[in-house]
Every structure is written in C-alpha cells, then in structure tokens.
C-alpha cells in the first residue's frame, strides 16, 4: 500500500506495502480488476478541456483487466475514429497486448455501428472505443444488448460534455478519469467511480523508467488537498 502526502505543492509517496510474495499491490487496493466485468459496458468519462486527449492508458489497463477476466475470448479491437492511437505503444508498451485489430471509422454512425458489431462477436474479449458524439437512448441500449449477447466488455471513452448531466448511458460502471500531478518518471491518473457498485477511488500510476503499473489508495488528505482537488 502507498500513502500519498502533499507538501510544497508536490506529492510525496511513501511505500508502505502489505504486498504478497509476488510483489504486487495489495489486493485490497481498489482497481479495475474486479470491476471491469465481461458482457457489460464500462465508460471512462474524461474532460475534453486541457490537453483534451482521451485517457488511452487507463483504457488500455481496463482492457487488459477485461481480457484477463474473460476465460473464452482474448481478442482486442480498438476503435479509434480520431486516428491518433499509436499501435506500437499498445503492442509493446508497459501493458503488453500483443496483436490486436485497429478500426478507424470516419463518421459517428460508423463508430457506433462498428462498436456494436464487434461487441456481438463471441471471439472478442474487449472493444475499446472512443465515442465523442452524443449517443441516443436507442444506441446506448443497443450497445448494452450487444455486449450482453456477445460476452465482450466494452470500454467506451466518452467526453464529459456540458450536457453530460442529461447524457444517457447504460453502463455497468462509469469512471471519471483525470490526469493527476505526477513525478519526473511517474505519471498519474485520478480515477473515481461515478456509477456502479463500490464507488471506489484510486490513483493509477505508470512508472516510465521501470514500466511498472500501480493502483494506489487515495489518501484521505486528497479530498482536502487543493492540488489534487482542482483536477477533479
């Protein structure tokens, strides 16, 4: 387990791990591990302001969790209408996926259609899709039914638009993902569950030097911390 404290406008992380023999993080730390279930839709909501790039890395970690949770199929399909995914980083990055299929539709309708088609296939474990447009009630339901019939997990990256309050969704879990201040070699994301069982909050850490990925308990201080609070 790690404890994060804040002083002098920087985060300090103290290693206090109650790890198992394998050196992995504490199993009590909340993570995507049990939350990203097969045959369901999961949404990562991100803020399109700031850099505005979708949370590709959290989506990749969630996809890996979904592949591990699925005992039948292992295929990953990434639907990337923006055309900005860099496939080598998926294939040989810190979360190795190996081979996957990349779909780059050009219109909003095609994006939704391709996502539904991929979810229906029984050989697909997870479909990661960037959906920047607003979904109708029918489309949302269609996505959910497709995931249920095919058995794949859908990881949808959706922007947190002004109209998000009235935006419809039919997801098993929804997560608000935002970048959090990191260190020189550590990049962090603050991940807050906004829908689904558990309501867990945690920090996702990626170490660029060692390639290690950690799920970190949010400190109690985080809620009061102005530095982390301003990013949420």
């Amino acid at each position: 387990m790690k404890w994060v404290t804040v002083s002098d406008n920087t985060l300090h992380v103290q290693e206090r791990r109650s790890t198992d023999a394998g050196g992995r993080s504490d199993s009590r730390t909340p993570s995507f591990r049990d939350a990203i279930t097969p045959a369901a839709v999961h949404e990562l909501v991100f803020d399109p302001r700031g850099l505005g790039s979708p949370p590709m890395f959290p989506a990749l970690v969630a996809a890996r969790a979904a592949i591990d949770a699925n005992d039948k199929a292992k295929a990953l399909i990434w639907i990337d209408p923006a055309g900005s995914l860099y496939p080598p980083a998926v294939m040989a990055g810190p979360v190795p996926i190996g081979e996957f299929d990349l779909v780059r539709p050009t219109t909003d309708d095609d994006t939704t259609w391709a996502t539904v088609e991929c979810l229906r296939c029984k050989q697909v474990a997870v479909v990661v899709s960037l959906i920047m447009h607003k979904l109708s009630r029918v489309e949302v339901r269609r996505l959910q039914l497709a995931a249920e019939s095919g058995g794949a997990a859908a990881i949808l990256m959706r922007p947190n638009l002004k109209s998000a309050a009235i935006d419809v969704y039919a997801a098993a879990t929804r997560w608000h993902v935002s970048p959090a201040p990191g260190e020189r070699t550590i990049q962090r994301w603050k991940i807050k569950q906004i829908h689904g069982h558990g309501r867990s909050d945690f920090l996702l850490e990626k170490n660029r030097a060692t390639g290690q990925i950690d799920f970190v308990h949010p400190p109690a201080a985080m809620a009061r911390d102005p530095l982390l609070a301003q990013t949420s």
Partner: protein, 541 residues
C-alpha cells in the same frame, strides 16, 4: 535455352519508374543495422559502386545517387510475368533451378566435422561458418530457362527462336544474355560467362565446356576462390583431374555441378505453373433491375465458381464483381473487389459479403452482364470443417467474418492488424499486417499512446541557454498555457536521410502542472547566423 537477366532488380525498378533512368541508382537492403547495396544500374557502376557496398559508402562515392529499397517479392513477380510471356515459345518455362545441394551440404558437414574430420573438411566447415556469419547475402540471380525440345520446328530453327527472344527483350527494355545448350548447367554457364549469345549443340558440348571459367559452374563463392588459389581457372582443368580428388577436399558440390554440366546427372526443369482463371459470367437480354434478382444471379455464379474451386481444393481470398449496364446507357461497368483475410469456401459467408457490396452499387437502370472473378485463391484446409469440429471451426471463423463485415462497410484500409516495423522515425514504427513479412518483436522505447497524425506547431518557453537547447518550461497550445513541472529528455531522433527526411528532432516527455504529459519535440534550424528552434506537439502519454 537460358536467359540470364543481369541487374534484374535495378532494371525492373527503372522500367516501372522511368523518371530515374538518367541518374545512378542503388537498390538497398536493410539487414539489422546495416544498409547494403544489392544491385546498381550502369551509371552507378561507372561511379564505382558495387553490390556489397554499404549505403553510406555508395553515397560517399556518388552524392546524388538514388536509393531505393529492395523489393524481392516484386522482382520475383516480374520475373514470373516475363516467364509467362515466354510461354509462347515453349510450354515449359522455369525460373531458376531446383537445388538439392544446399539441403545435403550441412548434413555432410555435421557428420564429418564432429568427430574425425579431415583437415579439408574442417576447413570447408569453417568456411561455411564464415558464410553464415556474413550478413551480406547475394540475391538469387535472375534467370529463365526455356525447354526448347521440339519447339524449333514451329519457328524454323532454334536460332530463329533466339532471335525472337532477343528482339522481345530489347523491346521490353531488358538486357538479357542468351545461351542455348543441351543441359541446364551448360546453358547457364554460357549465358553468364559471355555477352554474346551462344548456341552449343550436343556434339560440340564436350569441347566447348573446357574453356568455361569455374565461376560459371554455380559453385559457392568460397569454393570458387579456393579453386582460383589452387590455379584452377577453367572447367577443362577440373575435368583433367581424377574424380576421386574432389569429394575429400570440397565435398560433393563440384562433382555434381560438373555432371550436371555434361549431362551425366539429369536436371529436370520445373515449369512455372500458370493456373487457369476462376471465373463465371452470365448475360441477359433485358437488364436485371430488382435487388433480389441480382442477389439470385450472384448466388448462381458463386455456386459455379465454388464448384470449380472445390475441384482444386482451394478457397477464395479475393472476389471481383463486375456489373455491366446495358450499352444504351453508355455507362462504364461497375467493379467491386472483396478482400478476405483467409481462404473461404463457405457459400453463405461469401454471399453475405456480396450482398453488402450490392447495397453500395447504384442499380437504377439495372445491369445486363454479371461477371464473378476470383483473382486470388489459396488451398483451404477442409479436413476438419466437414465432420466433428464444425462448431469449433465456426467459432474460430467468427472473428474473421466480423473483420470482413467491417471491411465491407468501412473500407479495407480502415480495418487493420498493426505490425511493428523497425524504424527510428516514430511514425514509421508500424504498418498494417501483411502475410509475407513477419513483424519485428523489438523492445520499444517509451512511446506515447496518442500520436497526432501531424505534429502541431506550438510555442514554448525554454530555460535560457547559449545554443537554444535548454529544457522547455512552459508551452502554449490551443490558447492555453501549460506550465511544465517535469521534463524528461531530450531523446534525439535523427531523420532517415536516405528517405529525404533529414531533420533531427529532440523529443521531451514533458508534464504540466495539471498532470497532462506531452510528447513534444524541437527542430533546430539555422537562420543566417542565428539558431532558431521550432517546437511541435507530437503526442500525449
């Protein structure tokens, strides 16, 4: 008859790209870190560039040389196409020869070299070791062999055939060396050893081969250089030596080649196989306008095509549909191509794909002629699809069918399976998967998941430094200011100058105060005596 085509890769490239005909050209092949010249044209040869030089040496010898990546598959296709054209002279046209020497050789070496090897065998074993370590391997020589037995009557005489072939090669723009001889080995030897066409009859063969150089014997380069060291330069000298002397010193290779030269060991030609096209078509007097009827037409045509393929044991890899409207409308035919990622012979799958294509065709006036071609088909493994594991097989096919459906609606380039490519330039680090080339599995440096299709110019404030190479401190993009708290870098990526990409980029992994991580780079450029830097945003982690 042997047609030897020297400088084939360069000649083929120049035929396709005539704009480079006036400049020196080098065909380059990348082997790991090295870039080696495989072939050159005449202009480059006069500059002193030879196959085996490195790309940097070639550029040093001739600064304005044109470098082209070697495409062995295209060379091979072109040679086969030329071979098919040569079918007008004889039904049997072979490309190169089937060699069993290479398969047999290592086993000899491993048997002898292990325990009680003679010095010569050990030496040749070591030579083979040298050969294996050597990174540069010569491409296979381009040659076509025509079996003219019995064909001379159609053209008058063999000399007439040679004249026709020579004229045809000149017309195509190829430089070929011709030789007609009773054996394959002799034809090859005479074609490669002189520029003049040679016609050797069976009677003269024994006498004529004596003056051939040993290099024309299709021996490995190490053996040829060993023979030269021993003072053996001509085949006649080899024939004078007793046959028992060779195997202990050089292995069985020399004797085999000599026997093939004289005809003592037969060497059959393996002809190019030209498969008959798989096609079916139907014409109507009145145009077919209803979509259901068009589907029915395709169903019938598909059944014909699949029956043909079933006889060959093949499955469809590519389908071409041609819709021809009635001539009165004066409209051109509509051609649609369906690509499949593996061979299929399942009628319902194929029919679904054809229906998807039909939906996108404008059928306002109907069509009178339908043609279904299968330009690409492959053997299909059908042993398991018939009986027990049908269900299992169909599950495995499901992903294939999904990808085909996606390709059908979104287009073939939109649905790809990425494959890693060894390249310094991040944008060139991957390509859509191709069946022929296995991808690299090299470890990748730290790279962002989001890479903008085109780097965006940004404004950056740097730490003060003399040569403008300080770390970035603040960047402005999209009207927003991002204060950078941490930067990792620079990682210098030099452009691949041989592709005309000569800008060096200094990449930084920069993190803003809000936690966004940018991948930005700087390009230095000289403005008179001042150094200016341009910054670009290329990705996000």
């Amino acid at each position: 008859m042997c047609i030897h085509l020297p400088q084939w890769p360069a000649t083929r490239y120049l035929r396709r790209h005539p704009e480079h005909a006036g400049s020196p050209l080098a065909i380059i092949r990348s082997t790991g870190q090295r870039r080696v010249v495989v072939d050159v044209n005449d202009l480059a040869q006069t500059e002193g560039i030879r196959p085996g030089h490195s790309a940097a040496e070639a550029r040093a010898l001739c600064p304005h040389i044109v470098n082209v990546d070697w495409d062995p598959a295209a060379d091979d296709r072109a040679l086969c196409a030329l071979g098919r054209w040569m079918n007008r002279f004889t039904p049997i046209v072979a490309r190169g020869w089937k060699d069993e020497v290479d398969d047999a050789m290592p086993s000899v070496g491993s048997f002898v070299g292990a325990t009680h090897a003679s010095p010569a065998a050990r030496a040749s074993h070591a030579a083979r070791g040298r050969r294996m370590r050597r990174p540069y391997k010569e491409p296979e020589p381009a040659a076509l062999f025509l079996d003219l037995t019995g064909c001379e009557r159609l053209f008058g005489s063999t000399v007439q055939i040679a004249r026709h072939v020579r004229r045809a090669l000149l017309r195509f723009g190829f430089r070929g060396r011709l030789a007609i001889a009773p054996t394959l080995g002799a034809a090859w030897a005479f074609a490669t050893s002189s520029d003049k066409p040679a016609l050797i009859s069976t009677v003269k063969l024994t006498e004529a081969i004596k003056s051939l150089p040993v290099a024309a014997l299709r021996l490995s380069p190490d053996i040829v250089s060993d023979l030269h060291r021993l003072g053996l330069h001509h085949v006649g000298q080899l024939l004078d030596i007793s046959r028992g002397e060779f195997p202990s010193r050089f292995g069985s290779e020399i004797l085999l080649r000599l026997d093939q030269l004289t005809g003592a060991v037969p060497e059959p030609l393996t002809g190019l196989i030209t498969p008959a096209p798989v096609t079916a078509r139907v014409s109507f007097e009145a145009p077919v306008e209803a979509l259901e009827n068009i589907w029915l037409v395709w169903e019938k045509l598909l059944a014909l095509v699949l029956a043909d393929l079933a006889r060959r044991g093949h499955g469809v890899r590519q389908l071409r549909l041609t819709f021809t409207p009635d001539r009165g409308w004066g409209k051109p035919s509509v051609v649609r191509t369906i690509q499949l990622s593996r061979a299929h012979r399942d009628a319902s799958t194929l029919l679904n794909l054809i229906r998807c294509e039909c939906d996108r065709v404008d059928i306002e006036h109907g069509f009178t002629r339908f043609q279904l071609d299968v330009p690409l088909h492959e053997p299909v493994d059908e042993s398991q699809t018939q009986l027990f594991e049908r269900q299992y097989e169909q599950d495995a096919l499901e992903l294939e069918k999904l990808l085909q459906r996606l390709r059908g609606r979104l287009g073939p380039r939109t649905v790809v399976r990425p494959q890693l490519v060894e390249s310094y330039i991040p944008e060139c680090g991957w390509q859509p998967h191709q069946d022929e080339s296995p991808g690299t599995t090299a470890t990748l440096p730290h790279r962002p998941l989001t890479l903008l299709p085109m780097p965006q110019e940004i404004r950056v404030l740097c730490e003060p430094s003399d040569d403008r190479t300080g770390s970035p401190r603040q960047l402005m993009w999209n009207g927003q200011v991002h204060r950078l708290t941490h930067t990792v870098g620079p990682e210098r990526i030099a452009g691949e100058w041989w592709r005309g990409h000569n800008r060096t980029r200094d990449y930084y992994d920069a993190q803003s105060h809000t936690g966004d991580r940018f991948w930005i780079f700087r390009v230095l450029k000289m403005l008179r005596e001042d150094i200016a830097a341009n910054w670009f945003l290329h990705g996000a982690f």
